[in-house]
């Protein structure tokens, strides 16, 4: 599939913004991000009108929970509010909890691969600052098995990923101090990386290793077993767009914009696996397996196989660090280390910005922020920036191939994409 689906670019909103405070809505957010993305990529609304006449363009909206956060469903149709040029353009909303952006990407990629459309606009969006953090925490609980794992639980997800930390510690017989130090280092790296990213939620926040290590107390409260505030990504409002295209359209586009097709990155591989929904079932199923999240590992392997690449070919990773424990488990899932030895990769600086296998140069979910339905699309946009050498201050030198892992629920829905030139 490496010659079938190309990525032309896109844009994200500033994840520091609080749209409710600004008196604006998810719709305003969609308008701004789509206008910005089209401007950046160099595609006009007139061009969309032209493509639409020939039924060559479609839109894919990733969103988790607009019903609860904004009293609105049917988001796929909402792009028509952004601009009348989108009247008639096929569009639908895709949902897979925190992997909603990826399931929208997956649908877009599939349609382009099947030669149904030439241009796919993928827009991930979530407005989350409309409610208090405890109400929002309850909404997010619907990404787990709500009745069994979230009902009546305050902040269910930190607790589920706290359990993942417990299992990692027990299963691999790690020294607690060393393991917690590694988690703190993950947090430090993500915040430090986010400082270079002008669209990151936490770019002006204070964080260093010392603070990440100082767990407990009012300023770094425990929220899920061993995990404290500094181990968590934080919700925010945000939207991101990536624009995908067929080879034929990419050729037209390259000619028009004076670029070479070879300089435009393509989706080289993908993986999509769904693990048992409850964390307890995941834990039971993985007994005896080298990997605590075997389906996450399998998703990565599927993507490598389809791309005919391996970890040695990947220069940069964007992973789903909803919590430090999820990034920790991803390190071995990517093949950067053996399972149980992730802490060594962290200690040796392998995943740091200047390391051999940098993870989340953007800042990841911990640093950039986690507007649930937008995260997968944002990750793809960041891979695009990295492999086209346009990531500015957070550019990983010489990045040619990038891999993203986006998960929904407690590593339930797993999506991996590999982008490269």
């Amino acid at each position: 599939m490496s010659e079938k689906v190309f990525v032309l670019g896109g844009e994200q909103t500033d994840f520091q913004r609080n749209w409710t405070k600004e008196g604006k809505t998810f719709m305003s957010m969609m308008r701004e991000v789509l206008d910005d993305a089209l401007e950046k990529v160099g595609i006009s609304y007139d061009e969309i009108k032209r493509l639409n006449k020939e039924n060559r363009v479609a839109v894919f909206v990733g969103n988790f929970d607009a019903e609860q956060y904004a009293n609105q469903g049917h988001l796929g149709a909402f792009l028509t509010e952004v601009n009348p040029a989108l009247y008639g353009v096929p569009g639908a909303r895709y949902e897979a909890a925190c992997a909603s952006g990826s399931v929208a990407l997956d649908a877009a990629i599939t349609h382009i691969r099947a030669e149904d459309y030439d241009l796919a606009i993928v827009l991930g969006v979530e407005v989350m600052k409309t409610v208090s953090s405890s109400v929002g925490g309850d909404f997010l609980g619907t990404a787990a098995y709500y009745d069994k794992e979230a009902k009546g639980v305050q902040f269910p997800f930190p607790k589920l990923f706290g359990k993942l930390a417990d299992v990692i510690l027990e299963r691999y017989e790690l020294k607690e101090e060393r393991f917690m130090d590694a988690l703190a280092e993950i947090s430090r790296i993500n915040y430090a990386n986010a400082k270079r990213n002008p669209k990151a939620q936490t770019r002006t926040w204070f964080m260093n290793k010392e603070h990440a290590m100082a767990r407990g107390g009012d300023n770094n409260m425990a929220v899920g077993g061993r995990l404290c505030i500094t181990d968590c990504s934080q919700v925010t409002d945000g939207a991101a767009v990536t624009i995908l295209a067929s080879k034929d359209y990419t050729k037209e586009y390259a000619k028009k914009t004076g670029r070479k097709v070879d300089d435009i990155p393509r989706v080289k591989g993908w993986g999509h696996r769904v693990a048992p929904i409850t964390f307890e079932a995941k834990k039971q199923e993985s007994v005896g397996d080298k990997y605590i999240l075997p389906w996450t590992r399998q998703t990565v392997k599927d993507a490598y196989k389809r791309a005919d690449l391996d970890v040695k070919n990947i220069d940069v990773f964007e992973t789903h660090d909803c919590f430090t424990s999820s990034e920790y488990a991803a390190i071995s899932a990517f093949g950067i280390s053996e399972p149980g030895k992730e802490h060594i990769a962290i200690e040796e600086g392998t995943i740091d910005f200047g390391g051999k296998k940098p993870i989340n140069p953007s800042g990841g979910l911990i640093g950039v922020g986690h507007p649930v339905g937008a995260s997968g699309v944002r990750m793809m946009l960041d891979l695009y920036k990295q492999v086209t050498n346009t990531a500015g201050d957070y550019q990983v030198k010489g990045a040619k191939n990038g891999l993203m892992l986006n998960i929904g629920g407690s590593a339930t829905t797993n999506f991996v994409f590999i982008l490269g030139k």
């Binding site: 600004e22 008196g23 957010m29 308008r31 400082k195 002006t204 204070f206 603070h211 100082a214 300023n219």
Partner: protein, 436 residues
């Protein structure tokens, strides 16, 4: 980059002192001598610093002390002495004399003054001291408001300025705006010009709604979260007076007369009604027996407080809806085309704000990005250059200014049409500062 390991804070128990110390100890990882009138006050400052940046990790490297017992020793071992004592020459100058005697060559000394002459304050120092003396105007609260006006004077060394600027930017995470040693520097000069002139208009239109009406006309759709008069009430009318009086006494520009303090401000100050901090000023909030809060506004004509009115001004409603939908140019088109005296006032002040901001380039700052940064990061107001783009470019903006009889700055006359006028877009998304 300059290495700053040890810092002395003077005025450690004030909101600015403790907040700045928190930033320096946290982001800068520095050891900080926290000096106040007595050790107990300094200890309170340490706790406030911890609370402001929300990390206990800085507590151990903050050392409480008093001016009497610890100033000389602390200063002698510091790489930077940051003085945040009361805003007057009478208080700052004697302290500077003591700092000057104790400082080592190469130590930076700065003040948080928002209006005093940095050149005059620098005079307490020898040549090396003058070279290393600056205004570092942080905004309140320092952790959240990341602007720092770095004020230079004629005795500074460019290399030291650059190194200090880099430290403030890269290490402390400040949005650094370089300004010359002029009254109130950039942010307050522009911000208080608008606030004070709006206050005059409130008096002129006292019969039609006064303070509340003017804040409604200058509300969120004009690029600010809080109305200008609500802002004056928030910072305190005494502080407002100190700033505008200083500018009035020490500058002469086209907006000179607009810096005269309105009579009713003085009347309120004389009555101890300084604003929110004193329980009432331009507005006040009354808590009723049933717990309900009611807002009142000062009636300039009668001297009484009236219930805060609601307005129904069609063009404002329409513009607000456009902002809500993120149609910023559409909102400005509404403002451009609207009729009625309220719309005239809105156009007048939008023009005045852009004109005055850009007119200070060359005198107060070297580039418009500095005034834009000062207003965007320091006041959370849409920067002047961004407004030019939302209004449809330089030509359209000039038209607006001419219709409102506001001088057109050279920078705008010389601007190229069709090119983005606002250049800070990658650092500050101006759209986020409009409120719908």
């Amino acid at each position: 980059m300059r290495e700053i390991k040890t810092v002395t804070i003077l005025g450690a128990n004030g909101a600015m002192g403790s907040g700045s110390a928190g930033v320096i100890a946290a982001f800068g990882g520095a050891k900080v001598h926290m000096l106040a009138r007595d050790v107990e006050k300094a200890k309170q400052g340490i706790e406030a610093a911890v609370a402001s940046v929300k990390t206990d990790t800085i507590r151990a490297r903050m050392i409480p002390g008093s001016y009497d017992a610890d100033l000389e020793k602390a200063v002698a071992e510091s790489d930077w002495v940051f003085e945040l004592v009361a805003e007057s020459y009478e208080v700052k100058e004697p302290i500077n004399t003591r700092i000057a005697k104790a400082r080592r060559p190469g130590t930076i000394v700065s003040t948080v003054s928002s209006g005093l002459s940095i050149g005059r304050l620098a005079k307490a120092y020898d040549e090396d001291g003058q070279k290393h003396y600056y205004g570092t105007h942080f905004f309140n609260p320092p952790y959240k408001m990341i602007l720092c006006e770095l004020v230079t004077h004629s005795g500074n060394d460019k290399k030291v300025t650059q190194a200090l600027g880099e430290y403030l930017d890269k290490v402390l995470g400040r949005a650094v705006v370089y300004t010359n040693d002029t009254p109130a520097f950039a942010g307050n000069r522009i911000g208080f010009q608008l606030m004070n002139e709006v206050a005059h208009f409130a008096e002129k239109y006292a019969d039609k709604g006064g303070i509340a009406l003017l804040d409604e006309i200058m509300s969120g759709y004009t690029g600010r979260a809080m109305g200008p008069l609500a802002t004056a009430d928030f910072v305190g009318l005494d502080v407002h007076k100190a700033i505008v009086d200083n500018i009035y006494d020490n500058t002469k520009d086209e907006a000179h007369e607009t810096f005269k303090l309105p009579g009713y401000f003085q009347k309120l100050i004389d009555a101890g009604k300084l604003g929110m901090k004193s329980g009432g000023g331009l507005t006040k909030v009354v808590k009723h027996a049933d717990g309900k809060r009611e807002k009142f506004v000062y009636n300039i004509k009668t001297g009484e407080y009236d219930p805060y009115p609601k307005f129904d001004i069609p063009f404002i409603k329409e513009a607000r809806q456009k902002i809500k939908d993120s149609d910023y140019k559409g909102a400005m088109d509404v403002v451009k085309k609207a009729s009625g005296f309220e719309a005239d006032i809105a156009r007048y002040f939008i023009s005045r704000y852009i004109s005055y901001s850009l007119s200070l380039v060359g005198e107060v700052v070297d580039t418009k990005e500095n005034t834009d940064g000062a207003m965007g990061f320091g006041f959370n107001w849409v920067p002047a250059s961004a407004f030019v783009d939302f209004l449809g470019g330089p030509k359209e903006t000039i038209k607006l200014m001419e219709a409102s009889k506001i001088p057109v700055p050279k920078l705008l006359k010389d601007a190229k049409e069709g090119k983005k006028f606002y250049e800070l877009g990658d650092k500050l998304d101006a759209r986020s500062l409009f409120k719908g």
